[in-house]
Amino acid sequence: MESFTLKGRGASKGVAEGEALLTHDAISFLSDISITEGIIISPQSKCKGQSVSDKILIFPTGRGSTADPYGFYMLKKAGKAPKAVINVDANPTTVAGAIISNTPMVYKLDKNPLDIIETGDHVLVDGNKGIVIITKKGRANNGRAS
């Protein structure tokens, strides 16, 4: 069973696992995502139109300022938030958003998650320990089949 672990820093506590959605864009939860629907709406994003709901959302860092954490919270209340967030570097507005919405978040991993994780991989995020466990897509099924 091929799964491997990255170690980093937990920004927001809790454990969650699910399917990865990876974007190379910096994300503002207030202006890049529809906060009532959980759909990526920024016109320049390659992931425009995709849903972040119940995904493990991986992106380089956050953008936005004063009101951005509220956007994350609204998304959670609407039932459309990601299950967990992984960042390369943490923008404090994303940290604040993850904490007030009780969503696990991990960053500063020992390898760049953007190089290692692909959309569709199965990912477990442990915000208490600051670790990420990745099972590459396809291989999980192969493992079970053999």
Partner: protein, 427 residues
């Protein structure tokens, strides 16, 4: 992060779940900035999601839930705390004909906020200019949000404060702490971009709109570098300075600038730069100012529906200028002229007879309202729009334009003329 005994007790929940969550939030944010510890602050400035961004509907109810969770078990703010304005005053919503049930919801959301923060001991400033009421001194560490407050405190008063997010700002008020990073460390406060004014500009003759345009244009050029302005008049007034501060908050992500000879930490350009070479040098002339004026206008139609002055909230001298321009004139009957300020200044201006002059001409003086945020798309009921707006505030024009509102940006006399004639003359 190293914590004091007091901080450990908060983290253990001894002051209730709200304070516990607040200190957890500050520690996590501090760690993201590599802060080694939390520091004591002398004050904070908060904003309220349920009174600003979402004052009706489901999003308002969720905002209220968030605030209730955040302050759960808390009995008082640990430091003097001022608060930002609300987005739209219900009396204005009535004048605009918003549906009754919509206004009733607004009132409920506002009442929730007023009661919640009053219980915790807020100084009910409801202004983006708390320095009119509760000014701070050079070297004080403060917490909080609102880019104008942060820019003014760092750049004009020499206060040390970061641009924090809304939830973090509330956490600083509940704990009296903030992480030690950014503007709290002297080495991060030096200027990075040199701003020189070309000979075709006469800053001594700048209108408020010119200061707005200068600030807005420079913000777009420096993006995230701390600018150092050279050649600004040494006798700049507080009114002029707030107009130099506010637009930088929306056109750039910076918490501070230096104006040589004005900023306490910038007696000389060398001091402002900390003896280092600037990372960029920019010359600003008439062309750049004119370009900012153009960028801030999105309107095509000359007919004006709404004029407002007071972003940031007007000072008493401004109130006097507005009254002088309006004396003996009547504004167009189907048009709203709104002058925004904070309640103590409104009371003083009333006593001075200035509010009467503005009201007799058909205008309104409103306290505690943020004109920049009043007509963001999410705060306007379905099927309503404010029409064409005229203002002398770049920050408000920026937000209105982004919200799809038709806006004219110009000088205060141009705005007053538009209110009287109902037309934008330069259109």
């Amino acid at each position: 992060m190293k914590l004091t005994a007091d901080e450990e007790r908060m983290l253990a929940g001894e002051s209730g779940p709200g304070v516990q969550r607040a200190i957890e939030l500050l520690i996590a944010v501090g760690e993201a900035y590599e802060a080694e510890k939390l520091i004591d602050i002398s004050s904070s400035h908060i904003l309220s999601p349920e009174m600003q961004f979402w004052n009706t509907g489901q999003l308002s109810r969720w905002s209220r839930e968030l605030v209730a969770e955040s302050v759960e078990g808390a009995t008082h703010f640990r430091v003097p705390v001022t608060i930002n304005p609300i987005f739209l005053e219900p009396t204005i919503a009535e004048r605009l004909g918003y549906p009754e049930n919509y206004i009733e919801e607004m009132r409920q959301s506002l009442a929730f906020g007023r009661e919640t923060y009053a219980r915790l001991g807020v100084i009910p400033t409801y202004t983006c200019c708390p320095f009119y009421i509760h000014p701070l001194r050079q070297g004080e560490h403060s917490g909080g949000a609102e880019s104008l407050v942060v820019l003014f405190n760092n750049s004009v008063l020499g206060v040390m404060v970061n641009r924090e997010s809304g939830p973090t700002a509330l956490a600083t008020a509940l704990t009296g702490k903030t992480p030690l990073y950014g503007m709290h460390l002297p080495e991060n406060r030096y200027g990075q971009a040199l701003i020189e004014l070309k000979d075709d500009l006469d800053p001594g003759a700048f209108t408020y709109a010119d200061y707005n345009a200068l600030s807005y244009g420079v913000g777009k050029m420096v993006v995230d570098k701390i600018p150092v302005f050279l050649g600004l008049p040494q006798n700049m007034s507080i009114t002029q300075l707030k107009y130099l501060c506010a637009p930088l908050g929306v056109s750039a992500g910076i918490p501070m600038f230096h104006a040589v000879g004005i900023t306490p930490e910038a007696p000389t350009v060398e001091a402002a730069l900390g003896g280092r070479k600037p990372e960029m040098s920019i010359e600003v002339g008439r062309k750049e100012i004119d370009q900012a004026f153009e960028e801030l206008c999105s309107a095509t139609e000359p007919k004006i529906d709404y004029v407002f002055l007071g972003c940031p909230h007007v000072t008493i001298p401004e109130m006097k200028e507005i009254a002088t321009l309006l004396q003996g004139r009547k504004i167009k009957s189907d048009l709203l002229l709104v002058v925004g300020t904070t309640e103590p200044l409104r009371l003083l201006a009333r006593e001075m007879g200035l509010v009467d002059i503005i009201e007799n001409s058909g205008g309104m003086v409103v306290s505690g309202m943020c004109s920049a945020g009043s007509f963001l798309r999410r705060g306007v009921p379905e099927g309503f729009h404010v029409g064409v707006v005229a203002t002398n505030a770049a920050k408000a024009a920026h937000y209105l334009k982004a919200g799809g509102v038709q806006v004219w940006f110009g000088t205060m006399p141009e705005c007053i003329n538009a209110a009287v004639t109902g037309k934008w003359e330069a259109a």
